[in-house]
C-alpha cells in the first residue's frame, strides 16, 4: 500500500482514537491496512496513558520561592537542597532589577530637564512680550499733538501719502484760499532760509514764540513747549501753505514732518510771512550767518531764475551747505535747474 495513503489513514484513525475509540476500532478505517495501522495506534494509545513525570518537591518549593520573589519582591525562604539548581535560573531576574533603576533615574532627569527648558522658554517669551509692549507705549503719544494734524492737511493736498491725515481736518477748507498768495511771495524769502539749515529750525521756533508758536511745536528739541499748547490753528494753517505753494510734489513731504514735530518746521518761516514777515525774520537771526542770504529776496521772482541770482550774493553759500545736510529740498532743487 502506498505510504502516503497509509499516512492519511493513520491521521484519521488517530482522530478517532482521540475521540475515545479503542485502537482496534480506529484501525478498521483502513480496511485492508488495519493490520498495519493497529500497532501504530497501540503505541499512540499507550503513550497517551502513561503517567506524567513529577517535578521533585524540593525543586518545586525552590522554584515557587524564586518566582514569588521575582513577581512581587517578596523574599521567601529558599530550600537548601535545591539551591544550586535554582541559582542557575535566578540570575536573570536579579540582574534585571539594577538595570531598570538607573533607567528610571535617567528618565526622570530627562523629564526634569525638559520641564525646565519649557519653563525658561515661557518666561523669556513673556518677558519679551512685556518689553515690546512697553516700548510701543511711548511711541504712541507722538501722534497726539492736534496742531500737527492741522498743518499736515495743507501739505497733503499735493502728496497722496499724506492725504489720509488731511482729510479728517476740517480746517483745510479755509486755508486753501490764502495759501497761494502767501506762499508765492513769502516762501522765497522766509522758507528758503529755515529749511536749508537745521540751525534755522531753532530760530524758527523762537519766532513762533511770538506768534507762530505752532510751527515751533513740531520741534522736539524746542522745549518751548508752549508751542504745542498754542492752539493757534489759524497760524498753523498758514505755515504749511508755503511748501505746498512751491513745488507741489516735493514740498508736501517736507511740510508734514516739519509741521508735526520735526525740524522741517519750515512752515514757521512761512507762517512768519503771513503773520508778519518781519517777525519771521527774527527767527533766522538766531542763526546769524544764514540770515544774510535773506536778501535773496530775489526769490520773489520765483523758482530757478531767482536762485541763479542768489549766488551773486556770496554769503548764501553757507546756506547751501546746510541745505545739503538737511536736504533743503526746496532750494537745492531750485539751484539745480539754474545750472
Amino acid at each position: 500500500m502506498n505510504e502516503q495513503h497509509l499516512e492519511d489513514l493513520f491521521q484519521n484513525s488517530v482522530a478517532l482514537l482521540e475521540q475515545g475509540s479503542s485502537p482496534a476500532i480506529a484501525a478498521r478505517i483502513g480496511n485492508g491496512a488495519a493490520a498495519e495501522l493497529l500497532p501504530l495506534l497501540e503505541v499512540v494509545d499507550t503513550v497517551r496513558d502513561l503517567p506524567p513525570y513529577r517535578l521533585q518537591t524540593t525543586a518545586r518549593a525552590a522554584l515557587s520561592a524564586s518566582l514569588i520573589s521575582q513577581l512581587g519582591g517578596v523574599t521567601a525562604p529558599v530550600a537548601q537542597s535545591s539551591a544550586p539548581q535554582v541559582a542557575s535560573s535566578q540570575p536573570l531576574p536579579r540582574s534585571m532589577a539594577p538595570r531598570r533603576l538607573p533607567n528610571s533615574d535617567r528618565w526622570r532627569l530627562f523629564l526634569g530637564v525638559q520641564k525646565a527648558i519649557v519653563a525658561a522658554v515661557l518666561v523669556i517669551a513673556i518677558a519679551a512680550i512685556v518689553i515690546i509692549i512697553r516700548l510701543e507705549q511711548p511711541s504712541e503719544p507722538t501722534g497726539q499733538p492736534t496742531p500737527v494734524g492741522t498743518v499736515a492737511p495743507i501739505v497733503t493736498l499735493p502728496a497722496p501719502t499724506l492725504a489720509p491725515i488731511v482729510t479728517p481736518e476740517p480746517i483745510f477748507t479755509a486755508t486753501p484760499g490764502p495759501i497761494p498768495n502767501v506762499t508765492a511771495t513769502t516762501a522765497p524769502t522766509g522758507t528758503a532760509v529755515p529749511t536749508a539749515s537745521p540751525t534755522n529750525l531753532p530760530t524758527a521756533t523762537a519766532a513762533p514764540a511770538a506768534t507762530v508758536t505752532p510751527t515751533a511745536l513740531p520741534e522736539p528739541t524746542f522745549t518751548l513747549a508752549p508751542a504745542p499748547t498754542p492752539a493757534p490753528v489759524t497760524t498753523v494753517r498758514v505755515a504749511p501753505v508755503p511748501p505746498t505753494a512751491r513745488p507741489p510734489t516735493a514740498i508736501p513731504p517736507r511740510a508734514v514732518p516739519t509741521t508735526t514735530p520735526s525740524p522741517t518746521v519750515v512752515p514757521p518761516t512761512a507762517a512768519a510771512p503771513t503773520a508778519a514777515p518781519t517777525t519771521a525774520r527774527p527767527t533766522p537771526s538766531a542763526s546769524a550767518t544764514p540770515k544774510p542770504p535773506q536778501p535773496t529776496v530775489s526769490y520773489g521772482s520765483g523758482g530757478p531764475t531767482a536762485k541763479a541770482t542768489a549766488p551773486a550774493g556770496a554769503t548764501p553759500t553757507p546756506k547751501d551747505d546746510d541745505d545739503d545736510h538737511h536736504g533743503g529740498g526746496d532750494e537745492g532743487k531750485g539751484g539745480g535747474p539754474g545750472k
Binding site: 503513550v47 506524567p52 513525570y53 515557587s64 518566582l67 539548581q85 535560573s89
Partner: protein
Amino acid sequence: MLDWTDAQLVSSLQRREVEAVGVLLEQYADRLYTYAFYRCGDHHLAEDIVSDTFTRVIEKIDGYEQREVPFRAWIYRIAHNLLANQLRYHSRHRTVSFDAMNENGERKIDPPDDWGAADGGSMASQIVEREELREAILALPEDQRTVFILRFVEGFELEQVVSMLDKSLASIKSLQYRAVSNLRRALSNDDEVTNSDPAQKKTAPQRRRGI
C-alpha cells in the same frame, strides 16, 4: 485554586498576585517537566528548563496577549526554545550529567514521586513500560521526537504544534507518522531481543494490556 482558567491565571500574574504562582506551578510544572525530560532525558537539565521557562513567563507576562496564542502553547514555545538551545549546546560539548548515570555508567531511571502507588504493582509495570518508551523516544531524531511528544504526550492539536514549531501542517503530519512508525519498530526490536521465543513476541502495549 486549581479551577483557574488560563485567562484568569494570566490576568492574575499580570497583577503580580502571589497566589498565581502556586496555580501556575500546579498546572504546568509537572507537564513542562515531563515534556523536558522526554526530550532531553536528563533530570537536572529538565528541572533547569522548567525553572528557566517559568522565569521567562514571569518576565514577559506583561507583554503577553491572549489573542495571539493560547497561554499553554506560549509556555511550551518558551520551553521548546530553551530546550533547543540547551540540546544544541550539549550536542557540541557532549556533556553528560553524572547524576543521570549509575555506578555502571548506565542511565538511571528517575522514579516519580508516585513510585509504587498502591494499585497492586500495575503502576510499577507502567513505569517500567514508560521508561522503555522514553528510551525509544530519545532515540528518535530531534524533529520527530519533538512532534511526537507535543502531539501524543502533551496532547496538543495538530494546528497548535504547527504554530509552536513554525512548520507546515503537512510536514508535521509526516513527522508524526514517521515518529510513530520508528517508535513501533524500535519497541518491536526490543521485544525481539528480550523475547527469544517468537510466540512471546509482543509489543510493550500488548504486554501491558495482556494481549
